[in-house]
């Protein structure tokens, strides 16, 4: 209830400023997320409370027919972005910012109405399926029309799942089968926007390739795909653009072509460092650790680890700015 009200209130108050926020995004955007913040109230000893901001001023947009990857290290709260878009955050979460889906504000009510149909989630693992329900039945559950059973079987066929797979329980699925069932569940409602949360965790290379090709195929058919992952290499195989997630926000959004050579086309020092840290590049690790939501630096979030920092970097959080066909949150980016 709380979240819903928060979102709709904010969206009402922000609606007038929309045009200004949306300056950097084009008209055929399926989803626009502007300055999204998600915070939780944490109770400390005594009566003290504090607001723990897990996502802060996050910007990202997804167009129909493209794959956008949000890349960030594991456990940094990326999944909450997916939950915020779907409106399924826990009730103690506070959400602010603007979300626009298909040209209209994505209010709590609208989220409720279209999740599972227009917007759907591909979850991380088979744990997201009901352990005591046959997987075929679970897919049918997400299809709201009368011919659910037929549609489910068609979708299973499309993902090379046999008829017999439908009567298996989640724990009986092999790794590859589980991935296909999860994708099948997500597409069964005819979604236009698909959010894949960590779609390739610890899988066999063939299963990774297969899962990625499914996502790419969905984008080719006109869906917008938002892939949330820690695996930059997997992201690079299918993404059109990559948004780099650091300490609760996006520090850069770059077209995939910029991820080449020594990364000179990249905009943010963190993105460049991430690129250099890959085994096939320099393999140089980035010194230091990501700050936790409990103690974020007051200025630029990357400042404590940044080699380009100046006195001005600590003064305040850099705004997201347009730069060479991408966006970046760094005052010294060129």
């Amino acid at each position: 209830m709380n979240i819903k009200n928060n979102i709709s209130n904010l969206q009402h108050s922000n609606l007038s400023e929309q045009s200004q926020y949306l300056s950097g995004t084009s008209r055929n955007d399926l989803l626009v997320v502007e300055n999204l913040s998600v915070s939780f109230i944490q109770y400390q000893s005594g009566m003290k409370q504090r607001n723990l901001e897990v996502i802060c001023d996050l910007n990202v947009n997804v167009r129909s027919g493209e794959v956008v990857a949000i890349v960030g290290s594991s456990g940094s709260g990326k999944s909450l972005l997916a939950h915020a878009i779907l409106g399924i955050l826990p009730s103690n979460a506070k959400v602010s910012g603007t979300m626009i889906y298909n040209g209209q504000a994505l209010t709590g009510e609208r989220q409720k109405a279209i999740r599972g149909s227009e917007i759907s989630l591909i979850p991380q693992s088979v744990n997201y399926l009901d352990p005591l329900m046959k997987v075929g039945e679970q897919v049918q559950n997400t299809i709201k029309t009368k011919d659910a059973k037929v549609r489910q079987q068609q979708i299973f066929q499309r993902y090379q799942l046999s008829k017999a797979a439908g009567i298996l329980y989640p724990f009986q699925l092999s790794g590859g089968m589980a991935r296909r069932v999860l994708v099948a569940t997500a597409v069964s409602g005819g979604a236009k926007l698909i959010i894949a949360d960590e779609p390739t965790p610890g899988l066999h290379p063939e299963v990774v390739a297969e899962t990625l090709s499914h996502l790419k195929e969905l984008a080719d058919q006109g869906c917008g795909v938002l892939m949330i992952t820690h695996d930059i290499e997997a992201a690079m195989k299918i993404a059109d653009r990559i948004a780099v997630f650091y300490a609760g926000t996006t520090v850069e959004v770059a077209p995939i072509e910029d991820f080449t050579n020594t990364g000179e086309a990249l905009r943010h020092p963190y993105t460049k460092a991430l690129w250099k840290a890959l085994p096939e590049n320099d393999f140089t690790p980035i010194p230091g650790f990501q700050p936790t939501p409990a103690d974020l630096p007051s200025g630029c979030l990357f400042e404590p680890r940044c080699q380009l920092r100046t006195a001005a970097c600590g003064a305040g959080k850099p705004e997201m700015a347009e730069l060479r066909g991408g966006q970046v949150r760094c005052i010294h980016a060129t």
Binding site: H83, L86, I88, K112, R115, G116, S117, S120, L121, P123, S125, N127, Y128, L129, D130, P131, L132, M133, N141, T142, K144, Y169, F171, Q172, T185, G189
Partner: protein, 328 residues
């Protein structure tokens, strides 16, 4: 093959449990202040001479060493001979048989009622977490968990039988009617208050357990995903909640046979209901050793069967456990 192994394992456990139980009960009774001869003679004690008492003791083998006594008793038990009840002057097995039937009706009704209502209360509380109804149910359950059965029985008896006069004050059948003339409805009529007492206390456990399980399920990843797929409200709880909490609830309800039996001992005493519980108290108070030991064994089998049935249902219905067993 595996099922056979499973059953065999369970049977072995049951047997070893019973042997241990026999041993412990025997030692306890042997060291208790009950003098079986005195208990047997009862009020005629003054008229029985010392020599006669020694004769009885010798006749019963009480002069033999305890180990020997144990084996001759255990040997008889194995052959199904539980001895003769001293207070009823009937074979123990028959006393238990009649009493058990009466208790079973009482416990059965209470068991079903408390199971159904406890489950529903748990679901209602879990779905409305933190709201008034949830707090009310929680308060009710926690209060009940601390309420002695006999006390609640007395309260009900005072209100419904003494003040309102709706129900009989006690006994399993009307007073002064030959047992063959007692109708089923009269039996049921006498059953209501004690069964109600047992059910009112019995819901607490199952309701609190169900509430907690439902909360766990509602916080699970699969419910999150179901919500992401547009499911919500009662439909969601029905589809994923009930499915995932029914099994543990049924298991728990079967595992609660021991509390049920304990409760019925007290309730039967309060309502003078002629069940096994009442027989237990009489046997204990009046030193009827054969009956007491018989009841201990039978109730152990009863409680063990409850757990076993719970296990079996769980493993037959839950596909994960079924798989586990067949893949061993």
């Amino acid at each position: 093959m595996n099922s056979a192994k499973y059953v065999l394992g369970k049977a072995l456990r049951m047997i070893s449990l019973l042997i241990a139980l026999c041993l412990v009960s025997f030692i306890l009774v042997k060291n208790s202040p009950i003098d079986p001869v005195q208990a047997y003679i009862g009020a005629d004690m003054m008229r029985v001479s010392e020599e006669q008492r020694e004769l009885i003791a010798e006749n019963w083998g009480l002069d033999k060493p305890p180990i020997e006594q144990f084996f001759s008793w255990a040997g008889a038990i194995v052959q199904g001979d539980f001895g003769t009840s001293m207070i009823y002057r009937e074979p123990v097995i028959e006393v238990i048989g009649q009493r058990f039937a009466a208790s079973l009706a009482l416990m059965g009704v209470a068991w079903v009622l408390s199971g159904i209502f406890g489950f529903l209360m748990g679901i209602i509380a879990g779905m409305n977490r933190g709201k008034l109804i949830d707090r009310a149910i929680k308060w009710y359950c926690l209060t009940l968990a601390a309420t002695p059965t006999f006390w609640l029985g007395l309260i009900l008896l005072i209100i419904f039988a003494v003040w309102l006069g709706w129900f009989p004050i006690g006994m399993g059948v009307p007073v002064g009617v030959l047992s063959e003339h007692v109708s089923i409805s009269e039996k049921l009529y006498h059953l209501i208050l004690p069964a109600l007492t047992l059910s009112i206390v019995g819901v607490a456990n199952i309701a609190l357990h169900t509430r907690q399980k439902l909360l766990d399920v509602l916080e699970s990843d699969y419910v999150l995903f179901a919500r992401a797929n547009g499911e919500s409200g009662l439909g969601l709880v029905w589809q994923h909640g009930v499915r995932n909490i029914a099994l543990p609830a049924v298991t728990l309800q079967f595992a609660s046979f021991s509390e049920l039996f304990g409760g019925s001992v007290l309730a039967e005493q309060v309502f003078s209901y002629p069940g096994l519980g009442q027989a237990t108290v009489s046997a204990g108070l009046r030193g009827d050793v054969p009956l007491l030991l018989g009841i201990v064994l039978i109730s152990a089998i009863f409680v063990f069967s409850g757990n076993l049935i719970g296990d079996i249902i769980c493993s037959v219905v839950d596909p994960r456990i079924k798989e586990d067993r067949s893949s061993v």
